[in-house]
């Protein structure tokens, strides 16, 4: 709970091992203020939308349907900006292709830099940026862009 939301090797290491569903849930949770207003949030909260009922995974996992819906909403609402920042960013693609396993943390920093320089509005949301950057570095820009395109249609 006292975790520094700013990028750190420990945070990267922890998120790096998260499953895809967990990472989407984290992106969604960090994107809440960007995709839903406080009144709607109150309504949804009263309707129990955020009650976590646990996942159907064998074992323990964090797979939160409402947060994943927010992630999809985020990808939908910010699709153009993300496309500019990532999908049309050939320098980022080249940098990540050259990235090695041992330079992972630097690559995450590069991806965060690309996001903040193209989408300054996201700069205050360091947790969201970190989770997005990890997703981008793990998947590569091409797979990331396919995913946001697919997920953006998954907002219901």
């Amino acid at each position: 709970m006292n975790e520094n939301p700013n990028i750190s090797p420990d945070v990267i290491s922890k998120l790096w091992l998260a499953t895809d569903d967990e990472l989407y849930s984290i992106i969604g949770a960090n994107a809440v203020p960007l995709v839903i207003g406080p009144a709607s949030l109150l309504d949804e909260g009263r309707q129990g939308e955020f009650a976590y009922e646990g996942s159907e995974a064998l074992g323990i996992a964090f797979d939160h349907p409402a947060f994943k819906r927010f992630a999809a909403l985020f990808f939908e609402k910010w699709r153009l900006q993300l496309t500019d920042a990532v999908c049309k960013n050939s320098k980022l693609a080249d940098d990540l292709k050259k990235t090695t396993i041992e330079k992972r943390d630097i690559a995450v920093g590069i991806a965060i830099g690309a996001l903040t320089s193209h989408i300054p509005d996201l700069a205050p949301f360091s947790g969201l940026l970190t989770a997005l950057a990890i997703f981008i570095v793990k998947s590569g820009t091409e797979a990331f862009c396919q995913t946001i395109s697919h997920k953006a249609g998954d907002t219901q």
Binding site: T19, D20, G59, D63, G140, A143
Partner: protein
């Protein structure tokens, strides 16, 4: 140390004749820490040299050299991941008829063992395409055309979790064996061995009652009981459709003793072992006695028919069940690596049982993998060489 170590071998059968025929991983089951206790050692690998972090790896390498020399006609390429002074290195060995194996240092990286493990663990996630590409480009040779039409083995001596699929080598199966010769033999046997769904007994640990839910998951957060009940209902329907014998926690409870349950496992020709939460395989028998079925219980069994075993358990770790079944005499264990959900498990099992009709075990696994490729990357098949199996009528002997 190497002489008394047991090995697990991982095979990947790739689709398409032009591609590599098979990929195998060898994994020592010795305690990891033992390797750390021995001093660094400089070795010659072909014309190159390398300083191993642990001299214990040298014993393993020399053991492999002897084996590959003894199997010089087996047309095998073996990759071994070792910790060198700079970081993880990949050694490549290739058998040559009547000669010692050809040896090269395929890759020398600056990747630390911890980072290698993290990379491999991340690589099992479907979205981690770039990470798998990095593993392949940094740990495997740039040109793998020389491996075509050979049996390619991945030797993961330090249990990093290196699987063919994590290197973008698709349709990865894992085979376990004590020797390379046996590994190849088992891989070949699996491609012709048949298993009828009616010969399979499923042991399914989905909770169906409140007490089972709390016994299995304790305080850990999981889906509601009604969700698990629905999944179990699906599983029961699946068992009826494929005429597969099934023990849910309720049926296990009706047995009089733990011994009776273990006897059912021992007598099975094929086993499906699904544990909702590895640390909570708890069953309350009809006598009221609560029992835990642990990997050590399984390991102490003598599996009469050397069965094929499908294991689905939580998280990236299989909690020791795969190793335990192999130790008990299973011919093959097919286990997930990475998180799977109950709906995925049910769907996959349904597909596998369907595919077993008219196909070998290896083909059924391959077909199932193709159908569920989005999350299937982590699944690994281990095959054990067990001397007992040569004396019995197991699935691989048909």
């Amino acid at each position: 140390m190497s002489l008394i170590c047991r090995f697990i071998v991982v095979f990947a059968l790739t689709l398409g004749t032009a591609a590599m025929a098979q990929v195998i991983r060898y994994t020592s089951l010795c305690e990891e820490d033992m390797a750390r206790l021995t001093p660094p050692k400089a070795i010659r690998v072909g014309t190159q040299s390398l300083t191993l972090k642990s001299g214990a790896d040298l014993d393993i390498i020399n053991s492999l050299r002897r084996e590959l020399r003894a199997s010089s006609h087996s047309n095998v390429v073996l990759y071994m991941f070792v910790e060198a002074n700079q970081g993880i290195a990949t050694l490549r060995f290739e058998t040559r008829p009547n000669l010692s194996p050809l040896e090269t240092i395929a890759r020398q990286t600056g990747i630390s063992p911890d980072r290698f493990k993290e990379s491999l663990q991340a690589a099992v996630q479907p979205s981690s395409k770039a990470e798998r590409a990095r593993l392949r480009s940094q740990l495997l040779p740039e040109d793998m055309s020389k491996d075509q039409n050979k049996t390619v083995l991945f030797f993961d001596n330090d249990f990093y979790g290196a699987m063919p699929s994590s290197f973008e080598l698709d349709n990865g199966f894992a085979f376990g064996s004590s020797t390379i010769r046996d590994a190849v033999a088992h891989a070949t046997a699996l491609t012709s061995a048949r298993l009828a769904p009616s010969d399979i007994t499923a042991f399914v640990g989905y909770p169906e009652t409140d007490s089972e839910l709390s016994a299995v998951f304790g305080d850990s957060k999981t889906a509601k009981l009604t969700v698990w009940q629905d999944r179990m209902k699906d599983m029961r329907q699946l068992a009826v459709t494929h005429q597969m014998k099934m023990f849910g926690l309720g049926e296990m409870r009706s047995l009089k003793s733990k011994g009776a349950l273990l006897a059912e496992i021992s007598a099975s020709k094929g086993i499906v072992w699904i544990v909702a939460h590895s640390s909570g395989c708890s069953i309350r028998l009809s006598t009221g006695e609560e029992i835990q079925v642990t990997p050590s219980d399984i390991a102490s069994l003598k599996l009469i028919h050397s069965p094929f075993v499908l294991i689905r358990v939580c998280d990236a770790s299989d909690a020791g069940f795969a190793e335990a079944f192999l130790k008990a005499g299973a011919r093959a264990v097919w286990v997930n690596k990475g998180v799977v959900t109950a709906p995925q498990v049910n769907q996959e099992l349904d597909s596998f049982l369907e595919n077993l009709q008219g196909a070998s075990i290896a083909d059924a696994i391959r077909q199932t993998g193709v159908a569920s490729a989005s999350y299937f990357r982590g699944a690994t098949l281990y095959v054990e060489n067990d001397h007992k199996s040569q004396e019995k009528d197991g699935v691989g002997n048909e």
